[in-house]
Amino acid sequence: MVQSVVERSVPVEDAPLRAEYIKAFRGMLLARVLDDKFASLYRGGKIHGGVYLGRGQEALSVSVGLALRPGDVFAPLIRDGAGRLAFGESILDAVRTYLGSVLGPMRARDGNVHRGRPLTGLLPMLSHLGAMVPVVNGVLLGHRFKGIRETVGATCLGEGGTSTGAFHEALNQAAVEQLPLVLVIANNQYAYSTPSSRQFACHSLVDKAIGYGVRGHSLEGNDLEACLTVVGDAVARARRGEGPQLVVARLLRLCGHGEHDDASYIDPALKSAPFARDCLRLAEERVLAAGWMSPREVELWRAECVQKVEEAVAQVQREPGPDPYAEDWCALASRHLSEGYHGA
């Protein structure tokens, strides 16, 4: 099976991807600002339950969101704030879900990263890792049945998620059906506290591709250009009918597993590895160095991001939480089949 391996990209003076790069950088920055806000809301005790950030993974995530288009399907995971925004999720949806507004897509029934709008192609994740992969397959099968052509389904997993039976069954299923699935693995070296050495024993996770009969791609996940190129290539191939694509990125999670976690278990040696450098800072250096944005433009955009986020938070904080007395406790869509029996 052919494998594309892209090592760290050499900056090109005036790459044709300039516009895309800038767009991606701006998306990353917005995602970072939003994440920072969630972290501070969490510290302020304003969020119920956990907060999961994508710090250090924005380059990879945004590339997935940008490579998709309306009609595609995307099942993001816990570190995909950037990809979500790029795919079209609104800041409001994110904030409303974290703050438990009834106006959010999950209506305060589900929270934090468990959000989405299935009918727009953004699938809300199940907590159980790996479980989204077959569901994306199913949407793609549905498209095939309905004659909808050239749509792609993308989903992300951490390296820890590759140990699940769900990942395996679904990637194999996609390969058998030759579905346009793009499965992006962010190998951020840890699954919660567990280092990769206790998670898998292969040299690189991309070595799994051949065993499924799918194309594998590997890259450095903090290199935005590589992410845009490789993820873009994978999505394009899937769209062209070349079947499932497995993308494996190497990077480091630059935050705790959740905001409750200080990540003190991370090996200090890893932190100084090249792939551990902050993708956002690298991208910023690049746009500045190439003269694609001026420092002032960057600062203006950062300020704009902060403002958007602050506005959204302020708005949502005025929105109502759920009213348990108005809740009719009916899990079924077929209301006439609901027993309404709660054992009381």
């Binding site: 299935p118 199913g138 549905g142 769900a166």
Partner: protein, 321 residues
């Protein structure tokens, strides 16, 4: 002409495929082979491309069905045996079951589970798992006991906007016959009085309906008139019909082929005890499989599950209380 329970299931799927382009079938060996029990025989030939053989991946099978449903399809999943649904358990109960409540988007999938015991089936080809699915919110659990219900309830299952766990009983596949397929049916969620009587109510479902009817027949010779209620759908449970029957008879025996702890029979007894306490002339009783795995050997198996004989014994005891 006569049609079996199994043929009714095949016919219902054929009709669903013919009537609704959103329907497709997905499961192991369901294609050209027609399924381990032949429940999809000829369907892949009649409906090319709409009956897909799946790898041995129950989790991914259900997961894909959920995705297809969200994309507007109406998948029917066949598990080779109900017992193997434990591998797809997470997707069924957590993903499909919670989908509509979480997202406001319906998840109309039908999961066909060939369940229940047959002679020589053994611990892992015999299970009756309706209670563990019914325990979870957001699913409908059907347990048809007749050829007519196998047909019309399966059509209903496909039409319903929610995940339906459809338990078809392997023991009934070939033995149970009807003259023809029904053109109309009771609505889903309604129980059926399978035999009217005034001395005692036996609530049963799936294959146990027939054991209960045979016991009732036996007791009729002793001038005892037993009313047999066929639940048809175990979730939602038609408490009204049960309660009305108990109001008439004053006595309740509930029979299930599954294990006792937290089974459908426990649920029925709990509801009747709570809501129909004053209707009861004697303590409500239940009869279940023994609390061990389902044995392989026919003589052990016959002693493990309720039968017409053990139901008749339990009924006589209850009449004496």
């Amino acid at each position: 002409m006569s049609i079996t329970y199994l043929e009714a299931i095949r016919a219902a799927q054929g009709k669903a495929l013919a009537d609704d382009p959103r329907v497709f079938i997905y499961g192991q060996d369901v294609g050209a082979f027609g399924g381990a029990f032949k429940a999809t025989k000829n369907l892949s030939q009649e409906f090319p491309g709409r009956v897909l053989d799946a790898p041995i991946s129950e989790d991914a099978i259900v997961g894909a069905a959920i995705g297809a449903a969200v994309a507007g399809m109406r998948p029917i999943v066949e598990m080779q045996f109900a017992d193997f649904s434990t591998i797809g358990f997470n997707q069924i109960v957590n993903h499909a079951g919670a989908y509509h409540w979480r997202t406001n988007v319906p998840c109309p999938i039908t999961i066909r589970l060939p369940g229940g015991g047959t002679s020589g089936g053994g611990p892992f080809h015999s299970q009756s798992l309706e209670a563990i699915y019914a325990h979870f919110p957001g699913v409908v659990v059907m347990t048809p006991a007749t050829v007519e219900d196998a047909y019309s309830m399966l059509l209903d299952a496909v039409a319903i906007d929610d995940p339906v766990i459809f338990f078809e009983h392997k023991f009934l596949y070939y033995h149970l016959k009807a003259e023809k397929l029904p053109t109309e049916a009771m609505p889903t969620g309604k129980a059926r009085i399978a035999r009217p009587g005034r001395d005692m109510t036996i609530v049963a479902y799936s294959a146990m309906v027939h054991e209960a009817l045979a016991a009732a027949e036996e007791l009729a010779a002793e001038r005892v008139e037993i009313e047999v209620v066929d639940l048809r759908t175990v979730k939602p449970l038609d408490t009204d019909t049960i309660m009305a029957s108990v109001a008439r008879t004053g006595r309740l025996l509930c029979v299930g082929e599954a294990w006792p702890y937290g089974g459908v029979t426990a649920e029925v007894l709990a509801r009747v005890a709570t809501e129909g306490f004053d209707l009861l002339d004697a303590p409500p009783q239940r009869l279940n499989a023994k609390d061990t795995p389902v044995p392989y050997h026919p003589t052990l198996w016959a002693a493990h599950r309720p039968t017409a004989r053990s139901i008749a014994v339990a009924a006589r005891n209850l009449l004496r209380l």
